[in-house]
């Protein structure tokens, strides 16, 4: 049958109008209109058995579960639909910066706690014994045992039931189903919550979308940013001949941290960079646990191809330079490693970076230029000073400074320190080592250095006057050696 084109158009339009009219007159319920909605509330599991509190104490390991990753590198998803997770609470001494032994409270006996990885629809069967009353091997200077609890941001449960505080020796067990994808914080929710989080009681629970992520990554790492507020123990106790540090309650309430760190350690991932290779896609799960500061997370030398806010691929941005995370906010960022080099992870709130929120992704050494290569071949073996103060300065330099500085091997994150005593006076160096952040406010040379080195500030290492003098002795010794004879023990990362 032949239908003239005009009639065909009119009929099509009429059908369209009719359809539109039908849609207007009989609106469908939102749930029915989005039957494929992954957030369909009617399909979520919102009920679970009541939590069980007993006085049966866990023994053995403080953390258990196939879904747990204990370090920076994340294990692949455990395929089991039920994740059995055990994270006991402990009190222990941790080292948050060189020589800073801090009396911490933990989940799973580490700070941050182990990372849990699950998938939407998985059931988490969680148990926790409050083992804060157990004496940790070696050191018995931790805080008094106290009540603790667990608050999973990934769960949709009654806090009055599941997040109850339990006394030392008690065990709580509860379960919940992961309904939303994301990178969720967990933390102790016992008053004062501020103190419990600042003492180390936090971690991440990653929930993958039901169908997995839309991209394929070559490397996956967790990066948890947090603050520490510490002061020397008023009782002047020592751990391994080093002063014990305890929570500084006054500065905690004023949100004036002593350290802002990635994965629990000041400059930890500068000393132990995250490995990657040129051409690889790196996926970072970033979580800012605070408790009180915002993070402006950036990786120097690349652009985030994808940013999934709160770790949910439905909340996607493309081509971002930084990601802004409030306390208890997260994101998954993905980027390509363009070429060999060290890519610097940093909180671009540089006051936070200066307190230790810096890390490296090591994608191999940059091929040296012809000139540098020749210099390298001309270098003799490392020399050592003999004066005790200079020897101590060398030891300290090699343990604390080599991640960012070289001697005679060119620039790294910071300047090459060969010849530094000829460039700067002792007075200037002393002020710089004592309080780099103050110098950056007032001193033109310090400001120029900051600009020259990609706005990465020198972190305050809280050096004593004696330590500074030892550094200066070492630097002077270096500069009295014959040209070309001194270089630091290692090359670039």
């Amino acid at each position: 049958m032949h239908i003239p084109p005009l009639i065909r158009v009119v009929s099509f339009c009429a059908a369209g109008l009719l359809l539109a009219a039908c849609n207007q007159s009989t609106p469908k319920p939102a749930v029915a209109a989005t039957s494929a909605d992954p957030y369909d509330i009617s399909k979520m599991v919102l009920k679970s058995d009541p939590a069980k509190v007993t006085s049966e104490r866990h023994t053995g390991p403080f953390a258990e579960g196939a879904s747990l990753s204990m370090g920076n590198e994340l294990k692949p998803l455990d395929p089991s639909p039920v994740k059995v997770v055990r994270l006991d609470t402990t009190h222990k001494i941790i080292e948050i910066a060189p020589g800073v032994k801090f009396s911490a409270w933990t989940f799973g006996n580490q700070v941050p706690g182990p990372t849990i990885r699950a998938r939407v629809g998985d059931k988490i069967k969680f148990s926790m014994t409050n083992r804060s009353d157990e004496v940790m091997p070696g050191v018995n200077m931790t805080a008094a045992p106290m009540m603790h609890s667990m608050d999973f941001h990934a769960a949709m449960v009654s806090p009055q039931d599941k997040y109850r505080s339990i006394a030392p020796g008690q065990t709580i067990e509860f379960e919940f189903t992961a309904n939303y994808p994301g990178v969720f914080m967990f933390h102790c929710g016992t008053p004062m919550i501020l103190e419990h989080i600042a003492s180390g009681m936090y971690g991440a629970l990653i929930v993958e979308p039901r169908g997995g992520y839309p991209t394929k990554a070559d490397r996956e790492y967790i990066v948890t940013q947090s603050e520490f507020y510490v002061k020397p123990d008023p009782q002047k106790r020592k751990v391994d001949d080093q002063p014990l540090y305890v929570l500084d309650g006054d500065n905690l309430k004023k949100a004036l941290p002593s350290y802002t760190v990635f994965n629990g350690v000041h400059n930890g991932m500068v000393k132990h960079p995250l490995p990657a290779k040129p051409g690889e896609r790196v996926r970072l799960f970033i979580l800012n646990v605070g408790p009180s500061k915002t993070s402006s997370f950036h990786v120097v030398g690349t652009i985030f191809d994808r940013v999934w806010m709160d770790g949910n691929p439905d909340n996607q941005f493309r081509g971002m330079q930084t990601v802004l995370l409030g306390s208890s906010s997260s994101a998954i960022v993905e980027f390509m490693v363009p070429e060999a080099g060290q890519y610097i992870m940093v909180d671009h709130h540089f006051a936070n970076a200066s307190q230790g929120a810096i890390g490296l992704i090591d994608a191999g050494a940059v091929k040296p230029s012809e000139t540098n290569d020749l210099e390298h071949h001309n270098m003799p073996a490392t020399s050592t000073p003999t004066e005790p103060a200079a020897v101590q300065g060398k030891l300290d330099f090699e343990s604390k400074c080599l991640a960012c500085h070289s001697v005679g091997r060119g620039k790294k994150l910071g300047p090459d320190l060969l010849g530094v005593t000829k460039l700067r006076t002792d007075e200037w160096l002393t002020k710089w080592l004592k309080s780099p952040e103050k110098m950056l406010e007032t001193d033109a040379d310090a400001k120029a250095l900051l600009k020259e080195f990609n706005n990465i500030p020198m972190p305050n290492q809280n050096l004593s006057d004696t330590e500074i003098q030892q550094y200066l002795k070492y630097f002077h010794w270096i500069d009295t050696q014959p040209p070309g004879t001194i270089h630091s023990a290692e090359g670039s990362h």
Partner: protein, 138 residues
């Protein structure tokens, strides 16, 4: 006398259930005044530790804290120096000798001293052995 005790028991139960209606708050209040040293010392002496919520308009300052801590003086059976007060969480805890007083008598004695401040106590938990925080109604 028996009837009076029965009535007191019912009152305690009703207070306990009122407090237990928000378990999260109860556990938090307990945590705020849970002092491990006090609890450990109490166990050594076969004493118990009582946890109460404070009901009423609390003034949060050092003076108010001192006044509430002072009510523990001269109460028979109460362990000297064992009272812990959290004004922020509106809670207090105290160790006592069950051979010399009961939870109910202790509460009455404390409340008599708090009455001029228009404050009363909500029974929350009692702990009489390690790792067992019992509801008061039990």
């Amino acid at each position: 006398m028996r009837a009076a005790l029965h009535a007191l028991g019912l009152i305690l139960l009703s207070y306990a259930s009122a407090a237990s209606a928000c378990g999260h708050c109860v556990e938090d209040k307990v945590a705020a005044v849970y002092d491990y040293a006090v609890v450990t010392q109490a166990f050594k002496q076969k004493h118990q530790v009582a946890f109460f919520g404070i009901d009423g308009a609390l003034v949060v300052n050092d003076n108010s804290r001192r006044e509430i801590e002072a009510i523990a003086r001269d109460i028979p059976g109460l362990d000297k120096g064992s009272m812990r007060v959290s004004l922020e969480s509106a809670a207090l805890s105290v160790a006592f000798d069950p051979a010399r007083t009961s939870f109910a008598k202790l509460q009455s004695a404390l409340e008599r001293k708090l009455a001029p401040k228009k404050l009363s106590l909500l029974p929350m938990r009692v702990i009489d052995e390690p790792a067992k925080l019992k509801t008061v109604s039990k």
